[in-house]
Subunit: 415 residues, 2 copies
């Protein structure tokens, strides 16, 4: 390590969190919740962000490996995107009628994604996954939706597990769950409910929490596609998390299959609120019968930002670049593991990676490691997949590997 | 009429709509859909907006009585709000952790709304109405939700009518509908399902489409409140449409009752995408058990915009001002009706009004009238309530009344 080590503290974050807990249920909610990480070892509030870094409220500078849980793909405050947004803002944003930019963006997605003949826009990823299951039901005139156990499709009751507040068994009456990568189970379910299944929805691979990311088995997606076609089941790809990080053509193209509907969100506009569902021609009529809208769904600024984001991603071969950067990070972490005798498993696509210690049975080492890395200036989430952006440069990765080396020494000492 | 009459045409709007229909299901969707108004008589796309006016893609200047279906409350491109948003944008928007602005906004709403002890934020109004019913179920450990027939709470399947694409009877298994203003029916339902009703959700008054707005009957809300308290039913106010247009303290305060949960959206940030649910202390624990989040839910720019919007609304006594402006419009329209022998019913609160011809049985006169007004430069929706903003000045209303006079002459001629 070249520099004297500085260990961050997060007193102001903690103090603000206690203040927040008085007027916000849980203080900070959902997947942003700080209670899912080690208290006192992670920042809770962002003051300023630029490129791949942010300053937290304690003034700590952090290299960010969460990228706002995905949306930031070109770096915070990307000039090209923010300037396209500002230009649009100076004309019109949320207005009584949509803007031409909505048509342009639909046409752009149709041009970009091989299975897109049309596009539809919302605000949340979950708006689009729900829209997709409604379109599948409208198209097939069937009720049942098959989803993969543990896949995340947002917070709508149909896809939220029983046990969370307010979810009732009735929410899942027409939902069937199957295991990831298990074609046999899907075949069995299809045989059992032949003619009743409207759609199959899944993420392109298993973005599991607290575990290695699980890629599709050889032949899995082609098998799913064949069964869906044979049975008239609408094949829905939830590409909210992986979209535009693996391929500009969508993760269907990346993994070699053709979804009927694909849902995008996170990376589509570099942090401006937008989501999209794209679909094949055959589904367009059914999709137009779904009543689905929201107060800000035709807002023009996020659409202008999306057009600029997509162009920048394409121009810079962003997926290729994030793969390289993620591989650099993964190789470095694995090498550190070898050096210090703590084998590292680096899983998932390098642009959306996750690491853990292979022999760490209960995520105890992981908790120590991630909090020690974070206290040195690189935010590693202990159990959620990470995200790489095109703003992460080689020097950032090297700096992070220094933080990681110091952290792994602490792990060695403590376990 | 002082000026030579100019009749707008909407050729470019029509042309763009046909282009859009190739890559967007329905061309323009939801409540923005142009197919619900008379083709050729209304603009479909906005090019630029400022104050209470916009330019459509044909270059027609329009005084806007839809205000983006509600969000625009201080005028398009309001300097104070946009500058607060830009200041925040230059620091951080959508980031890995929320900003302090989330706490400040929660505290602001708690200070403003008498029944708010806490606040929670999302993107769509429908995010918040769904969150509210989940919180009600979590709080009561009961399943059933009572809603009012025809009230609009967003596009989630639980509140969308059968017949729309993809909606299945299972979506409504635990939903009971009662008539607006019918306390007896509510009492009957409560007696029938005693101990099973988690929540009652309603808008503050009946924002009906294709009809006069129906205000709460004397004693209705107090009666609802009493029954809910007696039976342990969570009282949910969907204030998404009326919020901050009638009173800065929320429509519960305005109509003299105390909701347990209130949902806000539209006017809260003058067009920046944000929604909020506020609630009483007793509900906070249950609310924290609801798993609810989204990719852009902690974005800081809309929250900064909301703080600025609320201050501006308060500083300018916006609800008082919009009431005056709406009354001016309503009085003018009623006077025109008298003058031309076509009685006008002006219903709803003046800030969120609706007019129709009292003797117009099938909205045929209304279609002619609204399209003729619109072709002259004031956008009147023929069957959805209108919205007033603080950017509407006396001269704008006078100009609109000139458009209305010309239009009413056409109605006289055609009927």
């Amino acid at each position: 390590m070249s520099k004297a080590e500085k260990i961050y503290s997060f007193d102001k974050s903690m103090e603000l969190f206690h203040r927040a807990a008085r007027t916000i249920p849980g203080g900070i909610y959902g997947h942003f919740s700080p209670t899912i990480t080690v208290p006192g070892s992670f920042p809770y509030y962002t003051a300023e962000a630029k490129g791949c870094r942010y300053l937290d409220v304690d003034g700590n500078e952090m290299i960010d490996y969460m990228c706002a849980f995905g949306p930031m793909v070109l770096g915070y405050r990307n000039k090209t995107v923010d300037s396209a947004a500002a230009t649009q803002q100076a004309l019109a944003d949320c207005t009584t009628h949509p803007g031409v930019v909505m048509i342009e963006l639909a046409e752009r997605l149709v041009e970009l994604i091989p299975t897109a003949d049309w596009a539809f826009f919302g605000k949340n990823g979950g708006d689009m996954t729900t829209y997709a299951i409604l379109a599948a039901r409208a198209h097939t005139n069937r009720k049942k939706i098959v989803m993969v156990r543990g896949h995340y499709h947002g917070v709508a009751p149909w896809c939220t597990a029983l046990g969370f507040g307010g979810i009732i068994p009735e929410d899942h009456y027409q939902i069937i769950q199957v295991d990831w990568n298990d074609l046999d189970e899907f075949e069995k379910v299809v045989a059992e409910h032949r003619g009743d299944i409207a759609g199959f929805i899944a993420q392109p691979y298993h973005h599991i929490n607290f575990g290695d990311q699980i890629m599709p088995a050889a032949g899995y997606w082609k098998g799913i596609e064949q069964i869906c076609r044979r049975e008239g089941i609408v094949l829905i790809l939830d590409d909210v998390r992986a979209g535009f990080r693996l391929s500009m053509k969508g993760s269907g193209d990346y993994f070699g299959f053709e979804p009927d509907l694909s849902c995008y969100c996170k990376a589509i506009a570099n942090g401006y609120a937008l989501s999209a569902c794209v679909g094949r021609r055959e589904l367009m009529n059914a999709a137009s019968k779904v009543f689905f809208t929201g107060s800000f769904w035709t807002s023009q600024v996020p659409m202008a930002a999306a057009l600029a984001t997509l162009s920048e991603l394409e121009r810079t071969d962003a997926p290729g670049r994030m793969k390289e950067t993620g591989t650099l990070l993964g190789d470095g972490l694995k090498e550190l593991g070898r050096q210090y005798g703590l084998e590292v498993t680096f899983s998932g696509p390098p642009a959306i990676p996750f690491m853990r210690f292979t022999e760490d049975r209960d995520f105890y080492w992981q908790q120590i490691f991630c909090s020690e890395v974070t206290k040195r200036g690189s935010f590693f989430h202990p159990h959620h997949n990470w995200f790489i952006s095109t703003a992460h440069e080689q020097e950032d990765i090297e700096e992070t590997l220094n933080h990681a080396e110091a952290a792994i020494k602490v792990v060695k000492r403590e376990i």
